[in-house]
């Protein structure tokens, strides 16, 4: 038997991993990702207080530098609203009220995307630019990377929603999905995860945890950058 054939045989033997394994992976990974995200923004938090305390050349925050609280509040409010909706949506999904989750999910996605668009508008409406001292640097850096993190989270939300819509009419636990659809391997004989659609709940719970955490960081950003 050739090496390839032997591997292929071995491969087929182990098809059908229990979805609970990946569910545990996702849960752990969402918490680890939150930790990594926290430390990423800790660097900006440190920069904020470090540069503020030094106030080099008196250019920490020149007089004309004043971030618009209105814009910041609207954007942060939409982030938080989106995260809360996803959290309630996860509760609906666990209770098998999937239409209710999908409705909340769509609204949450819309909130998140609108917030990102408004963040772009907000940058153009500020009275200062990134070159206007220490605060301006921290402000634009922090909000820009928060923007990217939220964008990534919205992509994750869209994926979860899209799976839910595509297989929405099938009872949970009995999804009839063609093997290999998501793997780029149409010839695959079986799923590498048994009943992969059942993972929708686990994925949503992991997403909900991470998005809530990120929204928490957005609230901290709002307090530090706009209120303090």
């Amino acid at each position: 038997m050739t090496e390839l054939a032997q591997h292929t045989t071995d491969y087929e033997i182990v098809e059908g991993e229990a979805p609970e394994v990946l569910a545990r992976n996702l849960s752990a990974a969402s918490q680890l990702l939150a930790s990594a995200t926290a430390f990423f923004f800790v660097a900006f938090l440190f920069a904020y207080f470090y540069l503020r305390s030094l106030d080099n050349a008196g250019l920490w925050k020149p007089k004309h530098v004043d971030a618009s609280v209105t814009w910041g509040t609207i954007v942060t409010f939409l982030f938080v609203a989106s995260a809360i909706l996803v959290r309630f949506g996860a509760v609906d999904q666990k209770a098998d009220r999937r239409p209710a989750w999908r409705l909340k999910g769509v609204i949450a996605l819309a909130c998140g995307l609108v917030a990102l668009v408004l963040q772009c508008v907000a940058w153009t409406q500020q009275s200062f630019g990134p070159a206007d001292g220490g605060y301006a640097s921290v402000f634009f850096g922090w909000t820009a990377f928060l923007f990217l993190f939220v964008l990534g989270t919205m992509l994750w939300l869209e994926m979860t929603l899209a799976t839910s819509f595509r297989y929405g009419k099938q009872p949970m636990g009995e999804a009839a999905v063609a093997p290999g659809h998501a793997s780029g391997d149409p010839g695959r004989m079986g799923h590498d995860i048994r009943n992969p659609v059942a993972l929708n709940t686990a994925e949503l719970l992991a997403l909900s945890f991470y998005w809530t955490f990120l929204a928490g960081i957005a609230v901290v950003s709002w307090i530090i950058l706009y209120l303090v």
């Binding site: 390839l4 054939a5 032997q6 591997h7 292929t8 071995d10 491969y11 033997i13 991993e17 394994v21 990946l22 545990r24 992976n25 849960s27 752990a28 990974a29 990702l33 990594a36 995200t37 430390f39 990423f40 800790v42 660097a43 920069a47 470090y50 540069l51 106030d55 080099n56 050349a57 008196g58 250019l59 920490w60 990134p130 070159a131 001292g133 220490g134 605060y135 301006a136 640097s137 850096g141 820009a144 992509l155 994926m159 899209a162 799976t163 595509r166 999804a175 999905v177 290999g180 659809h181 998501a182 780029g184 010839g187 799923h191 590498d192 995860i193 992969p196 993972l199 929708n200 994925e203």
Partner: protein, 620 residues
């Protein structure tokens, strides 16, 4: 037809083509946004953005070519999760996106080995320059770029030097799993690292960079566009480290087989776990710091420009908040490999298992509280010095735990001096010197005179090369028979070891003296009275490079030409990986094993891992 279809699929060739295309798309796209000029080199001095976007476009194209976007796109279309890409056999799987953790481990071994070789060549060029006290071979700027390339390549690539090859290959097997938690992310970490390595080397086309591996400000803000390559390289390394760490921890925490309790976990797995924790928490700070530096260079922010409200010390603090844990990211897996291998060749259980675990975790924790000792002579508030001096010296206690556990494991053991064991034993000698000289650098008064000198350079080469690279080679000689199914030549291995050990010490020990006599790092000239020491070191370094060629010869000869099949368990180990066929089948186990003993029960029965509820693939 088959060959043609393979060539146009998602593979390394396509990735390179799209990578180059993406580079130019980014380059021209940025020019379209920020300026009308398309002059290739003429305007890069005032248009950093074009270079950064060019590289980002290149990385994106590279990843598209490898097929990394296929899965996210199918998920966005609503298809459910899956674990693996289509898997094929043959050599081709090593040149593309492969979700078999063993293939990724071997990809890491070869890929990192390649860049290690380049980094070593840079070291030879540095030592060539230092043969004479007045610079003659390279201009000063080129010399600084060589120093930077050598340090950055080694420090960046070797963050994954053990977790990449051995972690990816062995962790699922050692915990009785069939896969890593996220196989696609596992593959992504490797290819990001390779893309980063290429980006760093291309710095020579853009003027190089003068900062060494630390990228200090304000030099970093003022440097050539080649500096952007440094920032992008290290940012990619940081992303790769973070993802690798998350993947490792998720795998170890959630996928251990039944019966594999925390107290039965092999010590190597503990080492990987503690290193991964450092990666997940420290690397994001590095990424953020480098992105700030890139924003300063491209978007006119002023994080590190003091005249505009920023501060270069901000960079120094943030960098070392990552940088010191980074040292332990490099060293801890070395500890773990040594502690894993020693019991096999001493034929004794690992002494003080819990103490060794405490040592590994203690080092991880304390490494976050010592970073300011790098700034003792850089304007740090004098009142802070005692705290950081104390915390730095405190870290020698958990380090000592692992040292004691290793020594006591040797005590009254029936030691076999096979090649992996020789490398492990040399680790004790090298790391002891590295550790003792580290005390001089953690102590504020002595650091004041030794900081920035060749003494510091000799110290960290003893800890990193003596601690990590020797352990890395121990791992290679020990596990390559498992990974490939073929034995490395023992005699050539011993020649490699003895030449490397002697020449390593001959190269780096005299540099302590050069440092005490006042030779500064990163300076192309030195005092004439130091020429003899430098010539000695240079010649030793060239010969040390030659000892690496012995290894390379052995590696190619044994694995490509001789191909002597390795015995099922060539070292008499009781660890689970040696109960599997070599090389290990694609899915490791037909059924998940159940663990019922500890992995170091030498002299306590026939085997610690009876597997009543499952058997390795191919064994039943």
């Amino acid at each position: 037809m088959t060959v043609a279809r393979r060539l146009v699929g998602f593979n390394l060739l396509t990735a390179c083509v799209l990578g180059v295309g993406g580079w130019y798309a980014g380059w021209y796209g940025a020019h379209a946004v920020v300026g009308p000029s398309l002059d290739y080199f003429g305007d890069i001095d005032f248009n950093e953005l074009s270079l950064v976007l060019a590289y980002l476009g290149g990385v994106l194209g590279f990843l598209i070519g490898l097929g990394f976007l296929n899965y996210p796109i199918s998920r966005m279309r609503g298809y459910p999760p899956s674990l693996r890409e289509k898997e094929t056999g043959g050599v081709g799987r090593y040149f593309g996106l492969c979700t078999d953790h063993k293939v990724v481990g071997i990809q890491y071994l070869i890929g990192i080995g390649f860049f290690f070789f380049i980094g070593g060549l840079n070291a030879m060029l540095i030592r060539t320059e230092l043969l004479r006290p007045d610079h003659q071979v390279w201009p000063a700027g080129t010399y600084l770029t060589l120093v930077g390339l050598h340090g950055t390549m080694m420090m960046g690539m070797f963050t994954s030097g053990i977790l990449g090859p051995f972690g990816n290959y062995l962790i699922p097997i050692l915990i009785g799993a069939r896969r890593m938690a996220f196989p696609r992310i596992e593959a992504l970490t490797f290819w990001l690292l390779m893309a980063g390595g290429v980006i760093l080397e291309t710095t020579v086309f853009f003027g190089g960079f003068p900062t060494g591996w630390t990228g200090y400000q304000p030099l970093g803000t003022q440097a050539n566009p080649g500096m952007d390559c440094y920032y992008l390289f290290f940012a990619l390394v940081g992303i790769s480290m973070t993802l690798l760490g998350i993947n490792m921890i998720a795998t170890i925490v959630t996928m251990r087989a039944p019966g594999l309790t925390w107290s039965r976990l092999p010590i190597f797995v503990w080492g990987v776990l503690s290193t991964s924790a450092l990666m997940v928490l420290a690397a994001p700070v590095l990424i953020a710091t480098l992105l700030m530096a890139l924003l300063d260079r491209t978007a006119q922010t002023n994080f590190f420009i003091p005249s505009q409200g920023g501060s270069p010390y901000l960079y120094e603090n943030l960098f070392w908040f990552f940088g010191h844990p980074e040292v332990y990211v490099l060293a801890l897996p070395g500890f773990a490999i040594v502690l894993e291998i020693l019991p096999v060749f001493a034929r004794k259980p690992l002494w003080g298992y819990r103490l060794a675990v405490a040592g590994l975790l203690g080092v991880s924790l304390l490494s976050f509280f010592v970073w300011q000792h790098h700034l003792f002579v850089s304007g740090i508030n004098a009142d802070l010095r005692p705290f950081y001096m104390f915390s730095t010296e405190l870290i020698s206690i958990p380090t000592g735990f692992t040292f004691i556990c290793g020594m006591m494991t040797l005590w009254r053991g029936r030691i076999r001096y096979s090649v992996p064991m020789l490398f492990c034993l040399s680790w004790f000698f090298n790391f002891l010197i590295g550790g003792l000289t580290g005390v001089f650098l953690s102590d504020t008064p002595s650091d004041t005179t030794t900081h920035g000198s060749f003494f510091t350079m000799a110290h960290f080469h003893y800890t990193i090369m003596g601690g990590l690279v020797f352990a890395f080679f121990a791992g290679i000689y020990y596990w390559v028979p498992k990974m490939t199914g073929f034995q490395l030549n023992e005699r050539l291995g011993k020649i490699h070891f003895w030449t490397m050990f002697i020449l390593f010490n001959s190269t780096f020990f005299p540099l302590f003296i050069a440092g005490f006599l006042g030779q500064p790092r990163r300076v192309v000239t030195y005092a004439h009275n130091l020429q003899f020491i430098n010539d000695w070191v240079s010649v030793s370094a060239f010969l040390l490079g030659g000892s690496m060629l012995v290894f390379l010869y052995n590696f190619v000869k044994s694995l490509v030409f001789d191909r002597v099949p390795a015995p099922a368990d060539p070292w008499g180990s009781k660890s689970i990986e040696w109960q599997l066929p070599s090389p290990v089948p694609v899915h490791n186990f037909d059924r998940i094993p159940v663990f019922s003993g500890d992995p170091y029960g030498y002299g306590e029965g026939t085997g610690p891992f009876p597997i009543p509820a499952g058997a390795p693939a191919g064994m039943n």
